[in-house]
Amino acid sequence: MDSRIGNLYPSSKFTFIILIILLSMLVPGFIFQYMIFLFIFLISLFSGTAIKFLSTFMKSIPILILFIFIFQVFLIVNEDSQQIWAFIHFSQIGLMTSLTMTSKIVAISSSIIWFFQVTRVKDIIYALEQSGVSQKVTFVIASTIQLIPQMLNLSRTIADAQKSRGIETEGTLFVRMKAFIPMIGPLVLSSIQQIEERVLALESRAFSSKAKKTSIYELRKQKIDYIIVIFCILVLIVYIVWRIKL
C-alpha cells in the first residue's frame, strides 16, 4: 500500500476500476477481458501486491469460473449440443458463452481485488468524507471493517470457553455445526451489549456534536491523480465514439 500506486488518491484508482468494469462490459468477445486480467496482474506487480493478489484471486474466482464453465458447456442444452453421456452434453455455443461470461467476471473481480489491496480503508473513508458523504455512513463502513476481526476473536473466545467446558467443537461437519448453535446466543448477546457500551464511548468523544468535522489524517490529490481521471474519461469517450461510428 505504500507503493507509488498505493499512494494515489482513492477516487483516481476508483475511476480506473470503473473504466475497467465498463470496458469489460462493452467490449465484445473475451480476449480483451482476459488481457485485462494480465494487465491488472502487471499493475499489482508494480504495486508490490502480486503474491497477495494471486492468492486472493485463486482462492475465490476459479471455483466460480469452473462452475459456470461446467454448467454452460456440459449441462445447459443448446442448439448444437451433442450428448456425451446421460444428461451430459457438449456445446460449442455453451463454450463461447462461458468464455465470454467468465472473462468479464475475471476482469471485474481482479480489478476490484487489486483496488482493495492497494487502498487503505482510511483512505477510502477520507475520500468519501471529503466528497460529502455523511459521517454516519462512513462510520458504519469503517466500524464494520474494523469490527469483523473483533467478532471473529470473540467467537474464538466463546468457542474456547465452550471447549474448556467439554463441548466438542472440532471434528466432522456435523460436530462443528452442533457446536456452532450454542455459540450464537453468547455471540449475539455480547455483541449487542458491546454496541450499547460503544454508543456511550462514541458520545464521550463528541460523536453527535454539531460542529463541522475535521481530520487529523490528510490525503492530497496530486497532479497524477487528475491525469488518471482525465485519461480514463477520455479512453471511455473515445471507445464509445469509435463503437458508434462502426
Binding site: 458491546q194 456511550l200 464511548a201 464521550s204 456534536s209 475535521t214 487529523i216
Partner: protein
C-alpha cells in the same frame, strides 16, 4: 458556585420497579478530586451517567430532580457538545475505543475531529497527550491489538485530549497492573494541578486516600457519607455501608479505639504511617 450540582435526584431504570438512585443531592467544587466509592451495584456508575447526561438521553427510565453543570441545567446542553465539558472514561477498556481508527495516534485525535479542531492544533494536542500518558511506543499500533491496560490508557488519553473541565473516571485502574495504576494516579494529580474537577469511581481506597480531596460514599443508591478524605476514611461506619477503609488505617483505628482516643487523625496512607511512626520515634 459548584461546577456540578445534583438536586434531589431519583432514578429508576426502565422495566425495574426499585429505584436505583434516591433523593441524591450533592455539590462538587471546581478543581477538586472526588473519590466515589461504595459496594458493587450501589449506583456509582448510574450517578456518573446522570452527571454526563447519558441518563435520560441514552438510557431511558424515570429521572426526577435537577442536574446543573456550571450553573446551567444539563438539558440545555447538546449531548455531543457536553464531551468538551465532561470527559467520561468507562470501566471496560474493550468497548471504549471508537472502532474506526487504525492507529492509537488517530484514536486519540478522534474526539477532536468530531468537534472540528483544526488539524495543526490537533497534532499539537495529540503529541502533548502522547507524552503525558507515555504512549510513544504505541502510537502506530492498532488500538484493538493493545492489552486491556494499554487500551484503558489510550481511552483515558482520548478523553483528556478533548480538554474537558470535568473528568469522570469509572474504575480506570480495574484492568491495570500496579505500575500502570500508579501512572494513572500520577496523571490524575497532574490533571488536578491543571484545575480539572475529577470524579473518580474506585474501589482501591488506599489510592483514594492518597490522591482525593473528598470521598463520596454511596450505599443502595443513597449518598450516605460525604466529606474530606481524613474524615470519611477513618470512620468505621464506612464498612457498615459496604465501603472499605484503607488497609493501613485499620490497625491505627483499632489502636485509637483501644486507647480511647479520636480516630479522625489516624494515618491513611503509607506516607502518613511513616510520618506518624517517625513522630512517635518508632522508626
Amino acid at each position: 458556585m459548584s461546577i456540578i450540582s445534583l438536586i434531589n435526584i431519583n432514578y429508576t431504570y426502565p422495566l425495574e420497579e426499585k429505584q436505583t438512585i434516591h433523593s441524591l443531592s450533592l455539590d462538587l467544587e471546581k478543581g477538586c478530586v472526588y473519590g466515589l466509592t461504595g459496594a458493587n451495584e450501589s449506583g456509582k456508575t448510574t450517578i456518573c451517567n446522570i452527571i454526563r447526561g447519558f441518563i435520560p438521553e441514552l438510557y431511558k427510565g424515570e429521572l426526577t430532580g435537577e442536574v446543573m453543570i456550571k450553573g446551567k441545567n444539563i438539558n440545555d446542553y447538546n449531548i455531543g457538545d457536553l464531551a468538551t465539558i465532561i470527559g467520561y472514561s468507562f470501566q471496560n477498556p474493550f468497548t471504549q475505543l471508537s472502532g474506526v481508527k487504525d492507529t492509537v495516534y488517530e484514536e486519540i485525535a478522534y474526539g477532536m475531529e468530531n468537534i472540528g479542531v483544526p488539524r495543526s492544533k490537533m497534532i499539537q494536542k495529540v503529541d502533548e497527550i502522547v507524552k503525558m500518558f507515555q504512549l510513544e511506543d504505541l502510537i502506530d499500533k492498532n488500538p484493538f491489538e493493545l492489552s486491556g491496560g494499554q487500551k484503558q490508557r489510550v481511552a483515558i488519553a482520548s478523553v483528556v485530549a478533548l480538554d474537558p473541565e470535568i473528568i469522570i473516571l469509572d474504575e480506570p485502574t480495574s484492568q491495570l497492573d500496579p505500575k500502570s495504576t500508579e501512572d494513572i494516579f500520577e496523571i490524575i494529580q497532574l490533571l488536578k494541578k491543571q484545575g480539572k474537577t475529577i470524579l473518580l469511581v474506585e474501589h482501591k481506597v488506599d489510592l483514594l486516600a492518597a490522591y482525593c480531596d473528598e470521598i463520596l460514599l454511596i450505599s443502595r443508591g443513597e449518598l450516605v457519607m460525604q466529606g474530606p478524605v481524613k474524615e470519611i476514611l477513618s470512620n468505621p461506619k464506612v464498612v457498615e455501608y459496604g465501603g472499605q477503609l484503607p488497609q493501613v488505617a485499620l490497625y491505627f483505628i483499632k489502636k485509637a479505639k483501644a486507647n480511647g482516643s479520636s480516630v479522625s487523625q489516624v494515618p491513611l496512607t503509607v506516607q502518613e504511617v511513616y510520618d506518624h511512626l517517625n513522630k512517635d520515634g518508632e522508626v
